[in-house]
């Protein structure tokens, strides 16, 4: 893991708060994600993980706090600036969220639509990205023809097509059988090495966290309750922390 003292974070969240009526979901969550790092965030259901990542990509507006990507505070950006900043972030949705009326090729081409890229370059980008997730042969299939693991791979390819600096994985192994889950974890590691991305991984899967994380944050009661490497947290005496590893 790189030395944090020398590397500037690619993503910085400070004192993030978000409530829905009387339900205070995030109560001042803060974190930093460094270049090339795999940061895993774990928390119970309803602990605010999904709300946090939705704030991170501008799908939800936080009540207060700031989210800094590339030196820009995402909370204050106008829609057009936000859309342009979003190209720096790849997002792998829990349910893959492939556009089911489009083929795999069209799904991958979708983020490239309004960019000045000619057809030949588009084709190269699509095929090479699909190749990197091992699904070049599925290029003309519809999402309904793909298995759960294949859908996850295609969704990852779509998230990678613009070569983002940061990839957010929302429960990447949920709903997959153990073998496919293992394959996806390996793929995430390969992608991280190949594209030199920084990864923010939201998961419940302890095996996934153990294999992939450089650092972990436990999100409890809307704050970053504990932070450290997998082994440091595993060795912690705190009962709330231990509950995650039982």
């Amino acid at each position: 893991m790189k030395n944090k003292e020398n590397i500037l974070p690619v993503l910085k969240i400070k004192d993030l708060k978000k409530s829905f009526g009387e339900n205070h979901v995030l109560n001042g969550f803060s974190m930093e994600l460094f270049e090339g790092e795999n940061l895993v965030i774990m928390g119970k259901s309803g602990s605010g993980k999904s709300v946090m990542i939705k704030c991170l990509v501008g799908l939800l507006q936080p009540d207060s706090g700031f989210i800094e990507i590339d030196g820009k505070n995402l909370v204050e950006l106008k829609q057009q600036e936000l859309n342009s900043l979003r190209t720096e972030i790849g997002f792998l949705f829990q349910g893959s969220a492939l556009y089911d009326s489009m083929t795999v090729r069209e799904n991958l081409e979708f983020p490239l639509r309004k960019r000045n890229i000619n057809a030949a370059d588009k084709e190269i980008m699509v095929t090479s990205t699909l190749e990197s997730v091992g699904l070049k042969s599925a290029i003309d299939l519809m999402p309904e023809e793909l298995s759960g693991g294949m859908k996850r791979r295609v969704a990852l390819a779509r998230a990678l097509i613009l070569k983002p600096k940061i990839i957010i994985y929302d429960e990447p192994t949920t709903g997959l059988d153990p073998i496919t889950a293992k394959e996806i974890i390996e793929l995430m590691k390969d992608i991280q090495l190949k594209y030199r991305t920084s990864s923010l991984i939201i998961t419940h899967d302890i095996d996934c966290a153990r294999v992939i994380s450089n650092r972990m944050i436990l999100l409890i009661d809307g704050i970053n309750y504990a932070e450290g490497t997998f082994n440091e947290l595993l060795a912690a005496k705190d009962k709330k922390i231990q509950a995650f590893f039982k």
Binding site: G58, Q79, F91
Partner: protein, 260 residues
Amino acid sequence: MAISLKILQNIQSFLIEIGELSYFAGRFFKEAFSRPFEFKELLRQCFNMGNRSLLLVGVTGFILGLVFTLQSRPTLMEFGAESWMPSMVSISIVREIGPVIIALICAGKISSGIGAELGSMRVTEQIDAMEVSGTNPFKYLVVTRIMAATLMLPLLIIFGDAIALVGSAVIEYLKGDVSFLLYFNKVTKALKFSDIIPATSKSFFFGFAIGLVGCYKGYYCKKGTVGVGEASNSAVVYASMLLFIIDFIAVFISDIFFEI
């Protein structure tokens, strides 16, 4: 006390819904005329809506013409006024029955289809995925669908009216020995611009209402498959109600400008 409270709550939620729908319509006009435009998706939607509704509208129109002529014949014969059949049928169908019936059919097909499609996209996070990829989903999904419905409904109504008149002509030919040429000669003589223009104008509003309600219900669909079903169902109910309101207003206004 409890009943009156419930009635008040229902009125309140109805008014909130009207407000939200108006805001949604306002957002449509704001986004529709700002760049970038999604022409390719608009054409795709126009093709889908027109092409997929053609058979249904055609069959409905044909049966409408058949039944309307069959039902009216005995009454007109009683007064010895069978020769008025082409004029009466054509004016009734073009002015009122055709646009309303075909719009209702399209409300069932197009509005519920949009509601279910956008609803399932919302539930499966496809709309979120679009937004995260830097695309404006409102412009891509909503604006194109409302515009396509607004543009295609008048065409579908004109097509449906024409087929209804063919259906009517078939009955006249079989029962009254009236040739197709004579029938359509009488139809063209009977129809005036004051019949066609208000009917065509209101069909644009019908299309807009069908697209708007379907998109609104689908775009703000609540989570879960139950939500998708509700979005689809309430899209049809709201769109149908809105069609009758628009029809009433359109007839009222055309009464001022055209002699009916």
